[in-house]
């Protein structure tokens, strides 16, 4: 019992430190050190566990996919994706809004993160949409909402971190997240269609210059090749997930050289940014292993497992409970940090209840992703408010209907395991 009280006290300490802006990685590390000291364990574990947490070949996919995303931006692929979306989806009612969502889905295939999406697409779409008569808050809301798709459709840094800290197959997680990701996009498009009909938003009219189809098709092929290389390369057995990420970087660099759009300084700054972010993530993973080690050493996995068994809520009950918890936590904490801290334990509990590890992983990443658009801390809301020059709260209000749709998608993914398991199974990844 006193052990549980200690754990609760440490948790409160950890949370208050994080909210008092102590770097999340150090909040995790210092809490771990305190526990080690209280328990009288040797401090060597601080050194050995943090090293071990970072020492993983699979984790290498993270810097590579971030780098690939950054490079593709610099090379100019994002512009092409936007053009493709405009020319196709743009002709529907509420054209630019649809194109906005479509671009996010295409973009999701090369980038592992949501903020890159908002930064790249928000600057283009929010001003253009308001010029064409869309409500500016609505434009920003669509941009923010569609950014949630990016980290679900593979490649996804969150899924890589999830796979790395739990040992679940990353290829399998990628495959499992495709249908839920597309489902998010489609639901969003339907909602936007309804709104556009209501508010009589315009269709997109391409300029004559844009209607240079041969050039567009050529650029389109080049842009789409990257996600195809990644997905087909993994499923077709040419390389592992980590290698796919490295190949994606190499492809982007070669493309940049070929199209003469990538300078040495671009390469330098892309590498700089990706190492920067990677170091942040890895530091959290490393230090969190100290806590994980203490949990195992104090026999908490068994205690938690027993607790869940005693609750007797069953699979769906457990998933609903956890999803609610994650929706709440995702509002306050970084997704990566939450995955790093909670995924290993939750994954064990879920599989002990007979829930498929791929389904659970996708649910966890999905639920946490909604935190991106939940006020007051939703990062995508902030990002879009800054790149689109709008206020956070009015945008948040316009996001509500989309958020409700997303909740329905989450519910479907919880109730229908096939949504996550069909593709991994048919590709032999589960």
């Amino acid at each position: 019992m006193s052990e549980l009280l200690l754990l609760a006290a440490l948790l409160i300490f950890l949370m208050s430190m994080i909210f008092l802006r102590l770097e999340i990685a150090f909040a995790i590390g210092i809490t771990g050190v305190i526990w080690v000291l209280i328990a009288g364990e040797p401090l060597t574990v601080v050194a050995s566990r943090s090293f071990s947490g970072m020492n993983s070949f699979t984790l290498l996919a993270i810097p590579f996919f971030i780098l690939a995303g950054e490079l593709m931006n610099k090379v100019g692929i994002s512009d092409t994706l936007i053009k493709i979306a405009n020319m196709s989806l743009g002709r529907m009612r509420g054209g630019l809004a649809q194109a906005n969502i479509g671009s996010s889905m295409l973009f999701a295939g090369i980038s592992g993160s949501a903020i890159a999406d908002v930064a790249a697409l928000g600057t283009v779409f929010v001003p253009r949409m308001s010029e064409e008569g869309f409500d500016r808050d609505f434009a920003a809301a669509v941009t923010a909402a569609s950014s949630v798709i990016g980290p679900i459709i593979p490649p996804s840094n969150n899924l890589i971190v999830y796979g790395a800290v739990t040992g679940v197959s990353i290829g399998g997680l990628f495959a499992g997240a495709i249908i839920p990701g597309i489902l998010l996009g489609v639901t969003l498009m339907v909602m936007v269609y309804i709104f556009s009909y209501w508010e009589e938003y315009p269709k997109y009219k391409p300029t004559t210059e844009e209607e240079n189809y041969p050039k567009l098709v050529g650029e389109g092929v080049v842009a789409i090749t990257m996600p195809v290389i990644i997905i087909y390369g993994i499923i077709g057995g040419f390389f592992t997930v980590t290698e796919a990420a490295a190949v994606a970087c190499a492809y982007a660099i070669l493309l940049g050289i070929f199209l003469q759009t990538l300078s040495i300084s671009d390469l330098y700054s892309a590498l700089y940014d990706s190492l920067d972010i990677t170091a942040q993530i890895f530091t959290m993973i490393g230090f969190s292993l100290i806590l994980a080690w203490m949990l195992a050493r104090r026999n908490f996995p068994t205690i938690f497992g027993q607790f869940i068994q005693d609750l007797g809520v069953g699979q769906v009950g457990f998933l609903l409970l956890i999803a609610t918890l994650l929706l709440f936590i995702g509002t306050w904490l970084s997704i990566t940090a939450t995955i790093i801290m909670l995924a290993p334990t939750l994954d064990q509990l879920a599989t002990a209840l007979g829930i498929h590890e791929l389904q659970f992983g996708v649910i966890m990443v999905l639920a946490l992703g909604y935190g991106l658009i939940t006020p007051p801390l939703g990062v995508s809301l902030f990002a879009v408010s800054s790149v689109g020059d709008v206020k956070v709260w009015p945008v948040a209000k316009r996001v509500i209907p989309f958020y409700i749709c997303f909740l329905i998608v989450l519910l479907l993914v919880i109730l229908i395991p096939e949504l996550t398991l069909y593709l991994p199974r048919s590709w032999g990844l589960a």
Binding site: I18, R21, L22, E23, I24, A25, F26, G29, I30, V33, P42, L43, T44, V46, A47, F51, M54, N55, F57, L59, L60, P63, I66, G112, S113, A114, I115, A116, A119, G150, P151, N157, N158, F238, F239, E243, A246, V247, C249, A250, Y268, L271, D273, L275, D276, I277, T278, A279, Q280, F282, T283, S334, I335, T336, L372, P376, F382, A383, S385, V387
Partner: protein
């Protein structure tokens, strides 16, 4: 020179040195990072083209990454780039912000000291007692980065403390529109 002048000058020199060290580490890790990308891609190519991958191929990639990360932990404290939540903190009145921050930096400093002392112990006791299966080198060479990282964390924490002591606005949030700030948040995804 008065005492306060000497102090100012010492601090000046410390900050200049910190800038220099940060730059050196950034450049060094950039080079390592570039090698890493090239290396992993090369492994894919040699496996398909020449049906050969050295037995230590995976291991050296993972070690390179660990070195990069451990070296960057300190510089990220200095440039305030670690992921952190500032929203609530910014609501605290100014002098308290400063005190909180100084207490936190002391905590980080202690963590650095632990990594230094126990990192040395770990590198020597465990690292010299086992070799890495792939490369066949003493794990000491991989673990060595832990105490180095501890040193750098302590060094840069002091630099950070000097920076916010001299200019309290250093703690305030920068303009969100700044592109680098967005990049910083990127991992929040």
């Amino acid at each position: 020179m008065t005492l306060s002048e000497t102090k100012t000058q010492l601090a000046d020199n410390y900050m200049k040195f910190a800038d220099l060290v940060e730059k050196v580490i950034r450049n060094f890790t950039q080079v390592l990072g570039f090698i890493l990308v090239v290396w992993v891609t090369t492994m894919v190519i040699t496996r398909h083209g020449f049906e050969y991958v050295p037995v230590w191929g995976l291991e050296i990639s993972a070690f390179l990454m660990v070195w990069i990360v451990f070296l960057l932990i300190g510089p990220l404290v200095y440039t305030d780039n670690h992921l952190q939540i500032k929203v609530f903190f910014n609501k605290i009145p100014m002098p308290f912000q400063y005190y909180f921050r100084m207490i936190q930096l002391s905590g980080i400093f202690v963590l650095g000291a632990i990594l230094l002392e126990y990192g040395v112990g770990y590198a020597v006791n465990s690292g010299l007692n086992s070799v890495s299966p792939g490369l066949g080198i003493y794990l000491f060479w991989a673990y060595l980065v832990i105490p180095i990282s501890g040193c750098l964390i302590m060094f840069f924490t002091v630099a950070r403390a000097i920076a916010i002591t001299r200019d309290k606005t250093e703690m305030e949030p920068k303009e969100f529109a700044d592109d680098s700030e967005l990049n910083r948040l990127e991992d929040n995804v």
